[in-house]
C-alpha cells in the first residue's frame, strides 16, 4: 500500500476496474497494434495525468480554474519549440522540460498570488480571462509558435517509429521507437499519478481538504490558506505542463487546437466530474470512459445521423451529427453534476446500505 500512499481504491469493483484499465493500457501495443488504438491509449494516459492534476485543484481545494489547458499548452509548446529550434536531440527535450515546467509554475504562482486571496469565483473568472488571452497570444506570435498551423517537429533517433529495437521474429511482434515512446509516456504518467496520490494524502493534502470544507475554519486553525492554495495551484500547473510534454512527444506536433483550445478545458471538466471529484482515481476512470466514448461513440453517432437523414426525420440528423457530440456531453455533464456529484468513484465507494 506504500506505493498508493495508503489510499487504496476502497471498493472491490473500483480496484478491478482500475486494474483492467491499467492492464489494457500496458498491453495495448501487443493487443491492438493499430495506430488508432495506440493514439487512444496515449490520450488516456496523458489525460489521466492532466485530469488528476486538475482534480487536485477542483476536487481537493474546491477552486475552479479555467487556465489548466494553458499550463498543458505551455508544456507542449516548450517541447515543440525546443525540438523545432534545436533539432531532434535529447538536449532539446531537456531544454524544453527545464524551460517549460518552471515557466508554468511561475505563471501559476503569479496568478495564484494575484487572485487566490479573494473568493473562489474570482479565481475562476480571472483564470478564464488569462487563459483566453494566452490562447490569442500563442496564435498571434507565429514566429515563435507557428501560429494557427502550429509546429511539427522530429524526435531524437531512438524514439522514431523507424528505429527497430527488437526484430519481429524474436517475439512475434516488433519493438520500435514508437513502442518505446508509448512506454515512456505510460511510465511517466503512472509515476505522476502516484506522485499526486502522495501529495493529496500528505498532511498538506489534508489541509487542502480542510480549506475546501471551510476556509475560514482552516485559517482560524492557523494555516495560511493563501500559501496552501497557491502551492496546490503551482503543483497542478507543473503536472499539467508535464502532461503537455508527454502529449507533444507522442503527437510530434503542437498547435492551438491540440493543446490550448477551450474545448480541452471542457473535456477536462467533464472527465473530473464523471470520474469523481476529490479522488485521484476518478481521473483514470473518467479519462478512460470519456476518451473511449469520444473515439468510438462518435462513429456511432455518425451512423445514427445518416440513418435519421435517410428516414427523413427533421432536426434529428443535425442533433445526432458527430460534430454535435459536445451537445450530448454537455447534457450528460449537467445531469452528472446534478444527480451524481460524486462521480463513478464516489458511487462505487458508497457504503452499502445496512453493510
Amino acid at each position: 500500500m506504500m506505493i498508493l500512499s495508503g489510499d487504496p481504491p476502497r471498493s472491490r469493483l473500483l480496484a478491478v476496474l482500475l486494474i483492467v484499465i491499467i492492464a489494457l493500457l500496458l498491453a495495448t501495443p501487443w493487443l491492438f497494434p493499430g495506430a488508432k488504438a495506440m493514439n487512444v491509449a496515449v490520450k488516456i494516459c496523458v489525460f489521466a495525468v492532466l485530469v488528476a492534476s486538475y482534480d487536485l485543484l477542483l476536487g481537493y481545494t474546491g477552486t475552479v480554474s479555467f487556465a489548466h489547458t494553458m499550463f498543458y499548452g505551455i508544456g507542449s509548446y516548450a517541447i515543440a519549440i525546443a525540438l523545432y529550434a534545436m533539432g531532434p536531440s535529447w538536449a532539446a527535450i531537456g531544454t524544453g522540460v527545464v524551460v517549460g515546467l518552471p515557466l508554468a509554475m511561475l505563471l501559476a504562482l503569479a496568478i495564484g498570488l494575484f487572485s487566490l486571496r479573494v473568493a473562489a469565483i474570482f479565481f475562476a473568472m480571472i483564470t478564464l480571462a488569462v487563459a483566453s488571452a494566452f490562447q490569442v497570444l500563442a496564435s498571434q506570435m507565429s514566429w515563435l509558435t507557428g501560429g494557427e498551423d502550429g509546429r511539427t517537429f522530429r524526435l531524437p533517433e531512438l524514439l522514431r517509429p523507424g528505429t527497430v529495437l527488437i526484430e519481429k521474429s524474436a517475439f512475434g511482434f516488433e519493438i520500435n521507437g514508437r513502442t518505446l515512446t508509448y512506454y515512456l509516456v505510460f511510465a511517466v504518467s503512472m509515476l505522476l499519478i502516484l506522485a499526486l496520490l502522495r501529495v493529496v494524502n500528505s498532511p498538506f493534502g489534508r489541509v487542502l481538504q480542510a480549506i475546501r470544507e471551510n476556509r475560514f475554519r482552516a485559517e482560524a486553525l492557523g494555516y495560511r490558506t493563501v500559501f496552501h492554495l497557491t502551492y496546490a495551484n503551482c503543483i497542478a500547473a507543473t503536472v499539467a505542463a508535464c502532461a503537455g510534454v508527454l502529449n507533444a512527444l507522442w503527437l510530434r506536433y503542437v498547435g492551438p487546437d491540440t493543446s490550448l483550445a477551450f474545448s480541452i478545458m471542457l473535456d477536462i471538466l467533464l472527465m473530473v466530474v464523471i470520474g469523481g471529484m476529490g479522488t485521484i482515481y476518478g481521473a483514470i476512470i473518467g479519462a478512460g470512459i470519456f476518451i473511449i466514448a469520444q473515439n468510438y461513440l462518435q462513429t456511432l453517432m455518425g451512423t445514427a445521423s445518416t440513418a435519421a437523414a435517410d428516414a427523413g426525420l427533421p432536426l434529428l440528423p443535425g442533433l445526432l451529427h458527430p460534430d454535435r457530440w459536445l451537445l450530448w456531453l454537455g447534457l450528460l455533464f449537467i445531469a452528472s453534476v446534478y444527480f451524481f456529484p460524486t462521480g463513478v468513484v464516489g458511487r462505487l465507494r458508497r457504503p452499502k446500505a445496512g453493510g
Binding site: I121, A129, A133, L327, I334, V337
Partner: protein, 336 residues
C-alpha cells in the same frame, strides 16, 4: 415612523467619485499620445459605442451576482441566442431593412430587438429554474452547471443554424457617418451610445426610484433581512435574472449588427470580455460595471490604435492594474 423622519435627514453616504473620473482622465491622457484631435475624437466615439454595448451585456450578470451571489458562466449563451434570434427577423425581411427609409428600417430593427429580448428572457426563466435553482449557495456547482448550460446552448445553436457565419447587414439608414468638421462618427455607433445610455439611466432609475429597486438594493445588502420582512426574494431574483438575460440578448443583437455577422462563438468571445468588465467594476455594482465597460472599450480602441501588438493583452493589463489599486474592483459591494 414619522418620528424618525422628523429627527433630521439621514447622513448622506460618502460618495466615491474617483473611479468616475478614471475614463475621462484616461481619454484626456490619450489626446497627446494620439496626436491628431480628429482621430482622437473618432476613437473616443468608437470606445463609447463599444463600451455601451458591453455594458448592456454585462449589467445583467453583475446584478444577478450582486443580488443572489450567483455567477452565471453561461451568460454568453444569452448573447449568442439574442443575435441568432435577430437573424430570424432580419434575413426574411432583408428587403425592408435594406430599403432607404428610416421607418421601414425601424420596422425591422425594433421587432428584431423585442423578439430577441423576449426569447432570451424566456431562456433565462428556463435556465434559472432548471440549472440554478437546484444549486443555490454552492459556487462550485453553479460554475459547473452554468458552464454545462453554455456548452449545450452553443451546440444547439450549431445544430439548428449550422456552423457557418451568418451575415447580418446593417439597415440602410444606419450605414454611413455623420461628419462634424473633420470628425466622422458612424451612425450606428451613435445609436449604440444612445441605447446604452437609455439602458444605464433606466437601470439607475429603477434601482433608485422604485420600490422594486429598493428591494433589489436591500437584497444586495442583506438578503435574509429582506426575506424576514416578508418579501419573496426568489421571485425578485427570477425577475432580475430574466431582465439580465434579456439585456444580454439585446446586447447580442447590437453586437451582431456592429460586426454585421453572427456566429455561435460570440458567446465565448464576449463572456471573457464581460467577465473582465464585471471584475473591474466590482462584482454586483452597476455603476462600476458601466465605468469598467467604458475603460475596457477605451483601452481596446486606443490601445489598438497606438500599439496594435499590445491590444491582445491590454484587457488583462487593465484588469491587473485596477485590481492592484482596488483588489475587489472599482466599487466593491459590501458583504461580498
Amino acid at each position: 415612523m414619522t418620528d424618525t423622519a422628523a429627527a433630521g435627514p439621514l447622513p448622506k453616504p460618502k460618495r466615491d467619485f474617483l473611479p468616475v473620473l478614471l475614463p475621462a482622465a484616461f481619454a484626456l491622457l490619450m489626446l497627446p499620445l494620439v496626436g491628431s484631435a480628429s482621430s482622437w475624437a473618432t476613437l473616443l466615439a468608437a470606445s463609447l459605442a463599444m463600451g455601451m454595448m458591453i455594458f448592456i451585456m454585462a449589467s445583467g450578470l453583475t446584478l444577478v451576482f450582486g443580488l443572489m451571489d450567483v455567477l452565471n458562466f453561461g451568460h454568453g449563451a444569452f448573447i449568442a441566442v439574442g443575435a441568432y434570434v435577430a437573424t430570424l427577423v432580419f434575413l426574411p425581411l432583408a428587403g425592408l431593412s435594406q430599403a432607404d427609409s428610416l421607418a421601414s428600417n425601424l420596422a425591422v430593427l425594433v421587432p428584431a430587438a423585442v423578439l430577441s429580448m423576449g426569447v432570451t428572457a424566456m431562456l433565462g426563466l428556463l435556465v434559472e429554474r432548471v440549472l440554478i435553482l437546484p444549486v443555490y449557495g454552492q459556487h462550485l456547482k453553479q460554475i459547473l452547471m452554468t458552464t454545462g448550460g453554455l456548452i449545450v446552448a452553443e451546440q444547439t445553436l450549431y445544430a439548428l443554424w449550422g456552423p457557418q457565419i451568418i451575415p447580418m447587414p446593417l439597415p440602410a439608414s444606419l450605414r454611413g457617418s455623420f461628419i462634424f468638421g473633420d470628425v466622422a462618427i458612424a451612425k450606428y455607433r451613435l445609436l449604440a451610445m444612445l441605447v446604452g445610455l437609455v439602458v444605464f439611466i433606466s437601470i439607475q432609475l429603477v434601482l433608485n426610484r422604485t420600490k422594486i429597486g429598493l428591494l433589489i438594493r436591500a437584497g444586495v445588502e442583506n438578503r435574509e433581512m429582506v426575506e424576514a420582512l416578508g418579501y419573496r426574494i426568489r421571485r425578485l431574483f427570477l425577475g432580475v435574472f430574466m431582465v439580465g438575460a434579456a439585456l444580454a440578448g439585446l446586447g447580442g443583437v447590437m453586437w451582431g449588427l456592429y460586426r454585421e455577422q453572427v456566429h455561435a462563438s460570440i458567446g465565448d468571445e464576449l463572456t471573457v470580455l464581460v467577465f473582465i468588465v464585471v471584475i473591474i467594476g466590482g462584482l454586483g455594482s452597476v455603476g462600476g460595471c458601466f465605468i469598467g465597460a467604458l475603460l475596457v472599450a477605451m483601452v481596446a480602441n486606443y490601445g489598438g490604435f497606438l500599439v496594435p501588438k499590445l491590444a491582445l493583452v491590454s484587457n488583462i493589463l487593465l484588469m491587473v492594474a485596477i485590481l492592484m489599486w482596488r483588489p475587489r474592483g472599482l466599487y466593491a459591494v459590501t458583504s461580498r
